[in-house]
């Protein structure tokens, strides 16, 4: 059942959840990216225990549902009286920070795999060439490895951004008033779908913006591929069936 008597007020009400949703996604993506670079380097470390630790972290966060991770951090921490009386409690007390922590830890695991893939795609010959030019390790990372790895990782990271925007909806299960919870409150008290459909549209719009943004960044970061892509987009010259 849908009712169309007050769609505008409902839309504005749900729009009120956008700041929480977007800030949660943005903050955890930024924090998660920084941590993920470290984690990816750890996984590629020649020192086995470090690489293994990073692997275990990635394995845990990718093999369990985000919902479990969120509940563990939110409801789970409430079980310990010691924690409740410690300096850390003002942090864990808030659903917002718990959600951000869970989302950050989660995206760190996925992003580190994307970055690792990017790093491994950089041809070894280039690293050797950089060494031969006398670049030190930091300079090699900064000037040769990272720029290419990031470009390589960007499409995968675009997916991760969309997934994170979607994942913020789980914060609704720990009382955080974001888009999903506002919509759900309306749906469960009126037995109508309007609020949920509006919420779905808002998420689609945010994700549309995010994917456009990533596509633009991809375009900006790969000038040497641009020409080839334009050629590809041109009408078929009649040779494309030849493999």
């Amino acid at each position: 059942m849908l009712r169309f008597d007050e769609p505008w007020t409902l839309f504005l009400e749900i729009l009120g959840g956008v700041p929480n949703t977007v800030s949660l996604a943005l903050a955890s993506l930024v924090l998660g990216f920084v941590l993920a670079v470290g984690l990816a380097l750890m996984r590629l470390s020649p020192w086995k225990p470090v690489a293994w630790l990073a692997y275990a972290y990635v394995y845990f966060f990718r093999s369990t549902p985000l919902l479990v991770q969120i509940f563990l951090i939110y409801y789970g921490t409430g079980q310990f009286e010691g924690l409740r009386e410690s300096w850390a409690w003002p942090f864990f007390r808030e659903a917002y920070w718990c959600a951000m922590l869970a989302l950050t830890l989660n995206t760190t695991a996925y992003t580190s795999e994307i970055i690792r893939g990017g790093l491994q795609a950089v041809p070894w010959g280039q690293v050797e060439a950089a060494k031969a030019c006398g670049m030190n390790a930091i300079l090699r990372l900064r000037r040769v490895i990272f720029p290419q790895a990031i470009r390589q990782a960007l499409p995968g990271y675009g997916n991760e951004i969309v997934l994170m925007v979607k994942s913020t909806s789980l914060a609704s299960t720990i009382t955080l008033l974001e888009i999903t919870l506002i919509a759900r409150k309306d749906a469960s008290s009126t037995y109508t779908l309007d609020a949920l459909v509006i919420a779905a549209a808002i998420y689609l719009f945010i994700n549309l913006l995010a994917t456009r943004g990533v596509a633009w960044l991809e375009y900006r970061l790969s000038p040497e591929l641009r020409e080839a892509r334009i050629l590809k987009a041109l009408p078929d010259p009649g040779l494309s069936h030849v493999h």
Partner: protein, 286 residues
């Protein structure tokens, strides 16, 4: 995006068209009446260890059906689908601890109320709010003047800057939003269980729910360190008590229920059943 909404709207319009097809039945003596209950809301209605539906409303239903001279059948229905299934004609009435609220009145109609359980705040018994008291024990919110304002002010002052937890889509949530939100942070929970967890953890300073929920809970396991404080609230935003939910086109059936409930209140049957099940008189007054 526009396409999505249009498609979903078309699907939904189809659904509405389908739902409106049910015709009103004629209600008279001897008619079969099917009553739905949830069977998971002790002590209003619940399932005993042998799988039988029991509770305050089950006993009351037997009494009311006798007074209406109809043959009743009680069916079990999950809470989420209880209103849609009524509209779809799976049964004719709902007796499931459902408060009579304006929002629900938009979709279905109700008999007069048969019970009114006050809403009560619960706090940790070793916390700073354990001593909270108001000038009166019972606050009726139908007409808000002197005494009611005082009681609300007491609550507001005590919890200013604090957090009160409440279950989602309940009359209790509506009350908090209307009267104390702004001074007090209101946190909503999917289930009462989650709210209880956060109350124990101290993420909320107080929780508001029906006394009929709290009383049995607090009597288990030494009260679990929780305590009821302040006045009990009824009326106004809490709805006009708990009544039987009925399809809007079956106003005649709603009237039959109301008449029977009036009689059962007048001769003390409802009070007797309430004391027996809740431990206090939760019968509807006037």
């Amino acid at each position: 995006m526009k396409k999505t909404i249009t498609t979903l709207a078309a699907i939904a319009a189809l659904a509405v068209a389908g739902l409106a097809a049910e015709a009103a039945a004629e209600w008279k003596k001897g008619s079969p009446v099917r009553i739905a209950t949830e069977g998971a809301y002790a002590p209003w209605n619940y399932t005993d260890s042998s799988g039988k539906l029991v509770g305050f409303e089950l006993d009351l239903a037997v009494d009311l059906c006798k007074r209406m001279a109809v043959t009743c059948e009680v069916v079990q229905q999950a809470w989420e689908g209880i209103i849609p299934a009524l509209q779809a004609g799976k049964y004719d009435a709902i007796m499931a601890g459902m408060s009579i609220t304006e929002k629900r009145m938009k979709v279905i109609t109700f008999s007069r109320s048969y019970a009114a359980t006050p809403a009560v705040f619960v706090v940790k018994s070793d916390g700073p709010f354990a001593g909270l008291k108001a000038a009166v024990d019972a606050v009726t919110m139908d007409k808000i003047d002197g005494a009611e304002k005082d009681a609300i002010a007491t609550v507001k002052k005590a919890f200013a800057g604090k957090t009160i937890g409440v279950q989602i889509a309940t009359t209790h949530e509506n009350f908090l939003n209307e009267f104390v939100a702004g001074d007090v942070t209101v946190k909503t929970y999917d289930t009462q269980e989650n709210l209880d967890l956060d109350l124990q953890a101290g993420r909320v300073d107080a929780a508001l729910a029906a006394m009929s929920y709290w009383k049995p809970l607090l009597e288990k396991d030494g009260g679990k360190g929780l305590k009821m404080v302040g006045p009990g609230f009824t009326g106004g935003p809490f709805g006009n008590g708990v009544g039987a939910g009925i399809r809007q086109e079956d106003q005649a059936l709603a009237d039959m229920f109301s008449k029977a409930i009036n009689a059962a209140i007048a001769d003390g049957t409802v009070s007797k059943l309430a004391v027996q099940h809740f431990g206090f008189d939760a019968s509807a007054k006037n």
